[in-house]
């Protein structure tokens, strides 16, 4: 690689230009689509809504706070998609976890409530994962079924009632509180992104997830336990849905079966636009974060523009369609 001898300018130049070419070759434009999209949408709203408070610190920080659960769900989905699977049930798991946490917390206190919420998420993910990994049913169908199953459980858990979360410490820790002057929802987002990125990029587990999604047969003959990887990514997605449920419950100081209901499209769009392949083998956690912030910004801007709810849905759908088309076209290059 660096066989160029010092003092030999020609070979040093050659080596330099070669390594520059290598670096340029390594940059994957598709992974950057989301940054341009983010900037474009930001500039558009900054110009058109600058006078309507879009640029106020309060509004911008609100966007970040409101996207915290979606960002955390997106991290789970990056792992799942990268392993060549999909999870459609995380929105329903959010509701089950939030309700489990609220009910148990009101009875047995904060710690038990957190354990119940996280436990419910992990259990739901383990159910998905076990059926997908060991019964070998396609995750699309399995999680389509459990999406309905878990949503039904959430509805029947409290007979459609909303459960207030009375514990003030919990609300502070997962919702409205702050630490060192920074809102706890931002801490959770940063923590989840940092840990998720680390595991995804820097550990053998992350490498095995990518290999499993890329070529399961190759992964398998290379000694990677692909069934276990499939189980783990779906459990991870369930566990993160549990955490997202706690964040919703903390912020709203209540749990209801509708929590997480509208996250499915937003989160999938955030992850795909962020640069993760739908069919596995390649993805990015940071891209998913930016994608999620972009979706949050879009929601916020459309509301500030005064669009009706149905118009918001139409515009958001169209923009997601365009964004996904652009990033997928770029990938197919």
């Amino acid at each position: 690689m660096s066989q160029s001898k010092p003092g030999n300018p020609t070979s040093a130049n050659a080596a330099a230009s070669r390594s520059l070419r290598q670096i340029v070759g390594r940059i994957n434009l598709q992974q950057y689509v989301v940054y341009f999209g983010f900037l474009a949408i930001f500039l558009f709203f900054a110009i058109t809504l600058g006078d309507n408070g879009f640029l106020s610190i309060r509004n911008l920080s609100n966007i970040v706070l409101q996207t915290a659960p979606a960002t955390i769900l997106a991290i789970g989905l990056v792992f799942v998609l990268s392993a060549g699977e999909i999870d459609l049930s995380f929105g329903s798991i959010v509701a089950v976890s939030a309700l489990a946490a609220a009910v148990v917390m009101n009875e047995y206190g904060m710690v038990a409530g957190i354990a119940a919420g996280m436990g419910a998420g992990l259990l739901a993910g383990a159910i998905n994962g076990t059926v997908v990994a060991f019964v070998r049913l396609p995750s699309f169908l399995v999680t389509l079924a459990t999406m309905g199953l878990f949503a039904g459980i959430a509805r029947s858990m409290t007979n459609l009632r909303s459960i207030p979360v009375l514990d003030g410490d919990f609300a502070g820790f997962f919702g409205s509180g702050s630490f060192l002057g920074i809102p706890s929802l931002i801490w959770w987002t940063v923590l989840a992104v940092a840990v998720g990125h680390f595991i995804y990029r820097e550990t053998r587990f992350g490498a095995h997830v990518l290999a499993t999604g890329d070529n399961p047969q190759a992964a398998s003959v290379s000694g990677i336990k692909v069934a276990r990887i499939r189980l783990y990514v779906l459990m991870l997605s369930g566990g993160l849905a549990g955490l997202a449920g706690l964040l919703y419950a903390g912020r709203l100081q209540a749990a209801k079966y509708t929590l997480g209901e509208s996250d499915l499209m937003t989160v999938i769009a955030a992850v795909i636009v962020g640069g993760t392949l739908l069919h596995g083998g390649r993805g990015t956690i940071i891209g998913a974060l930016i994608g999620s912030l972009m979706m949050g910004m879009l929601n916020n801007g459309l509301i500030l523009m005064g669009l009706s709810v149905s118009d918001q849905m139409i515009v958001r759908g169209l923009i997601i369609l365009a964004a996904v088309a652009v990033s997928l076209r770029e990938k197919a290059r």
Binding site: Q22, G25, T203, A207, A211, A219, G223, I224
Partner: protein, 250 residues
Amino acid sequence: MSNTKPVLSLKDIQKHFGAVTAIENFSLDIHPGEIVALVGDNGAGKSTLIKIISGVYAPSSGTITIEDETVSMASAEIARSHGIEVVYQDLALADQQSVYMNMFLGREITNKIGMLDRKTMISETQKLVDELDVRIPSPHATIRDLSGGQRQGVAIARATRWAKKVILLDEPTAALGVAETAKVEEIVESLKRRNIGVLIISHSLDQVFRLADRVCVLRRGQQIGIRETAKTDKNEIIGMITGLQQSDAA
């Protein structure tokens, strides 16, 4: 060749799939630094034999010996731990990952705190592709962006990286052009210098005669015979493959 001890020894291997007899009484010794070719028509049992040696299938009967130790290749992992590597017919590479991650697929190097040690993996990959003269743009290159010959080069380089004793190649040049085939043959040839035993399945008798020290013929699961390439010719081998010549044993 027979003056050294065999590195891999197969004795009376049989394999049945239900009522189908895929391999019927197969015996073969492979010596360090020797290239043995396995030839035969489609369905003769060549791939099955490679899968038995690499631990994918258990033989119905017979023994596998590695350097005097009788082993049971109960799984691909066990075969690997005995220093046996396979280059599969359908490339076992992860297309969207880099060359160096493929080189270490399933056996990634980590540092003390469990982080991937990319630097070491990259430099080892570079060293190996340089040694074997596999011409790839860089260890960072994505497999998908490489030519068929480069990919096969990476697959063989990976096997070389991990094989201590034996490399099994299942039709490594079947999908390659002329120049790429020559390159892969050169790499296979260079494995001799590493004292690795090579078993290569090939449909090209020209290739067999260029590369192999000995050639072993299978026909419908039967071992027809083994010849030294220096002491036989294509006509004899074709006769053995097609059945114009009867089995040595018969």
